[in-house]
Structures are given as C-alpha cells and as structure tokens.
C-alpha cells in the first residue's frame, strides 16, 4: 500500500478536533435561530415565500384563520420541540387541563418501563421534563420560552418525548408495523434509528404515537407545491370521540420542517 493510499484511510483530524468541529457547527447554527423563537406574524411566511407562488397562495389563505407562528430550530428535533412547547403553553393557558396533563406525563414512566426502557436511560430526561411541567402554574410565558431556549432543558424534554413515542410504538407494534412494509424494518429497528436517536426527523408515525401516548390532539397544516390555495390539514386525534370537545395544537409543516401555528 502506498503512503498516499494509507492517508485516505487514516483520520486526518484527531477525535478532539472532530468533536470540536461538530460543536462549532452546532454553535454557529445556534447563533442563527434559538431552539424556540418569539412569536411572529404570519406575514413573515409571506416574505419567505414571496417568489414561490403555490406556497404563497396557501400562506395567504392561512391568514384567514391564523395570525401568528413560532419558529423552532431546524435541527431534526423540530417536531418534538414544537409539540412540547405548544403543549406546555396550552397547559399554561388552560389551568383546567393542567392536572390531566401532569398525570399523563407522570404515567409515562410506566409506559417506558413496559416499552422495555431501562430507568438509567430515561430518568434524567424525565426528571427535567416533569420539573418543567410542574412549574407551569407558577410560571409565565416568558420564563417558559427562556427554558425552552436553554439547551439542556429543551433537549431533555425532546428526548423524553422521543422515548415516549418509541415506547408507545413498541407496545402497539402490531398496529404500526404494517406501515413499515416499504422500509422492511421492524418497529424496534425503526425506533432505534428514527425515534430514539436525537436529531432524526419525524413523520406521521411519530406524530400518531405521541399524540395518542399523551392524549394531546394535533393538527398539522401542510404547505406544499401543489397548485391552488388549499392547505391540507392532517388531524391527529387520540380518539375520534373527543373530537370537537377540545382544541388541537396546531403545527405548520413545510417539507422538512415543523413550526408552531396560532389561531386568530
């Protein structure tokens, strides 16, 4: 083997340098946008899509029903982070559903144990999530936002929701495995690769599982390149019977990214 060939197979950077480099990329990304942003007018989407007619038409239609959105960092965790923030915020706005939310969160430890998770793996993330949720009655929206912008807190909550999603899918694998036929992987593999790993993006399966596990309805409004101003709404109701009796959290999706949406 020539020395040149050998060089190709040797790491050119030390592991310290590689980790430092990865951290630098994360930090640079962090400087562009917080993990969760302040609310902004939906008009910012109009600006974003001013040269994209199909998207623009839909945003303009959306303005009839929605006036604000809250962006989340596009780090692969945006669905979980957007969901978590919108959920916590809804518990803060509606004290009458707070207790039920708290109980639901507390019940997740049982769910995780039944899903085969070791306490060692989830306890720290759960503790942070529970602590944050318990603070809600004595907290305020600004503090909630600050906490969700704090990497350690925010990421722990994301991770706990990932585990909850994974446990729910594993426990109900018979129901969900058929959706993985195309990928031809088992639910366990899917969970290990796509759900439990931090930073992997989410799709229908994760949303369905999480909304059912926590009994939190979600509507996802899809922006896409189809013609016309119709915004497709995908509804995720934990059970159809409760539909209409409560309001779903709203998220807005455009290819590859979720943000939080607010009704007028």
């Amino acid at each position: 083997m020539t020395s040149q060939e050998q060089n190709e197979w040797q790491p050119e950077l030390t592991d310290e340098q590689i980790l430092a480099f990865e951290q630098k990329i994360k930090d640079e990304e962090a400087e562009k946008i917080p993990l969760v942003c302040q609310k902004e007018s939906i008009e910012s989407l109009e600006k974003e899509f001013q040269d994209n007619k199909p998207f623009l038409e839909k945003v303009q239609k959306l303005k009839e029903t929605n006036d604000e959105l809250r962006k989340c960092r596009g780090d692969g965790n945006c669905f979980f982070r957007a969901f978590a923030f919108a959920w916590f915020e809804s518990l803060m706005r509606n004290p009458q559903i707070f207790e039920a939310g708290l109980e639901k969160l507390k019940s997740t430890t049982e769910l995780l144990l039944s899903g085969g998770f070791q306490e060692l793996a989830f306890e720290d993330f759960y503790d942070v999530t529970l602590n944050q949720l318990e603070q809600i009655p004595d907290s305020d929206p600004d503090l909630l936002l600050v906490n969700f912008q704090t990497e350690e807190i925010s990421n722990s909550i994301v991770m706990h929701l990932r585990f909850v999603t994974s446990a729910y899918l594993k426990i109900h694998s018979a129901e969900y495995e058929p959706f993985l036929i195309v990928e031809s992987i088992s639910i366990d593999q899917f969970c290990a690769q796509e759900v439990e790993a931090f930073g992997r993006e989410s799709d229908h399966l994760q949303i369905t599982a999480l909304t059912k596990a926590l009994d939190v309805p979600v509507e996802v409004l899809y922006l896409d390149g189809s013609s016309g101003d119709h915004v497709a709404v995908h509804e995720f109701w934990p059970d159809e019977a409760s539909k209409g009796s409560r309001k779903a959290l709203q998220l807005i999706y455009r290819p590859g990214h979720y943000d939080i949406l607010y009704r007028k």
């Binding site: 980790l19 993990l35 998770f117 290990a192 690769q193 790993a197």
Partner: protein, 182 residues
C-alpha cells in the same frame, strides 16, 4: 448567543450513575475498571465535558489472539452526552480491522444513525441515549472476537485478517505481549 451551552450537568449526572453501575456490576468478560485519579472535568473551554483520567482496561477475550492482554483505552464524552456518543481510543498499540491506527475505535454503536463514516449495515446497532458505556464495552469485546471487515477502519488489518489469518494473529499476539511488558 441563544445557546446557553449547558453546564453539562445532565451529562455529569448520567455518567456518575453509569460509573457507579459499572463498578458495582461490571459485565462478565470486562475488567472495566478505573486506574488512577478521580473523574476529572474539563470545563466548556473545550468541547469535552469529562474524560476518564484513568483508562478503562480490557482483558483480551479467551480464544482470541488478544487473550491475556491488558489493553488500556480512554473514553471521552461530549458535553451533550448521552445525546451524542463518546469517542473511544486505545492508548496502546492495537492492530484490528475496526480500530484506526491512532487507536480510535470505529464501530457502529459509537455513531448515531445517519452518521456513517464506514457505511455500516443499516441494521447495525447505533448510538442513541438508550446505549451506555457498558453497552459500548460489550460491543468492543465482541468486536475483538469478531472483526467486521465490511466497515474497516484499518485497511491493512482488514486485508491481513481476511487473507493471512496466521499473520494477523501473530501481529496481535505481539501487541498483546507488549501490553504485558514482555
């Protein structure tokens, strides 16, 4: 500017728990112990939160040319551990298809899904926070017995392991003896 960087307290708490578990119930076949000082912390000046100041020590598994050897290695943890995996490095001469010449161990459990330096099979076990130091150590033990030449880190070692097994065994045995100061 928006990133508090985190104090790393989650990482530290988790590592302390794992460390306690490891000292109380070390998995069979691993002499995972700590030699030397207490855990040390290097604060956010660098991206490392914690490094084991004393090496983890492996005894080579029976029936392999590593048998009888004592192989020191270090594990270094990123500040956001366990969201991201640690880096493992042997600090002795180590000839193995899945270990770079600088000692860095390259197996799938040390990489998150989507991070594919060596084109691992999609079914192989990847890093996520459900993994742990213990599981890494177990993977390394099985790596010693069963190299994966599909995703090699040391191409020379891959070739020799594949086509000249006796020569491979000799090189490894020589390293093994070296670790014992023979």
């Amino acid at each position: 500017m928006y990133d508090s960087k985190g104090s790393g307290s989650t990482a530290l708490k988790r590592l302390m728990t794992e460390y306690r578990e490891l000292t109380l119930n070390a998995p069979e076949g691993i002499m995972a112990g700590r030699i030397g000082d207490e855990w040390t912390m290097t604060l956010p000046l660098s991206c490392w939160l914690i490094s084991l100041s004393g090496p983890i020590v492996f005894s080579g598994p029976e029936g392999t040319p590593f048998e009888g050897g004592i192989f020191p290695a270090t594990l270094k943890f990123p500040r956001d551990y366990p969201l991201s995996p640690p880096v493992m490095k042997f600090t002795c001469d180590f000839f193995h298809p899945n270990v770079y010449q600088d000692g860095t161990v390259c197996i799938s459990i040390l990489h998150a899904p989507g991070d594919d330096p060596n084109m691992y099979e999609s079914s192989s076990e990847r890093w996520s926070p459900v993994q742990s130091v213990e599981k890494i150590l177990l993977s390394v033990v099985s790596m010693l017995a069963e190299p994966n030449d599909e995703s090699g880190a040391n191409i020379d070692a891959c070739k020799i392991w594949r086509s000249q097994r006796e020569r491979y065994n000799d090189i490894v045995r020589a390293n093994t003896r070296k670790t014992l100061g023979l």
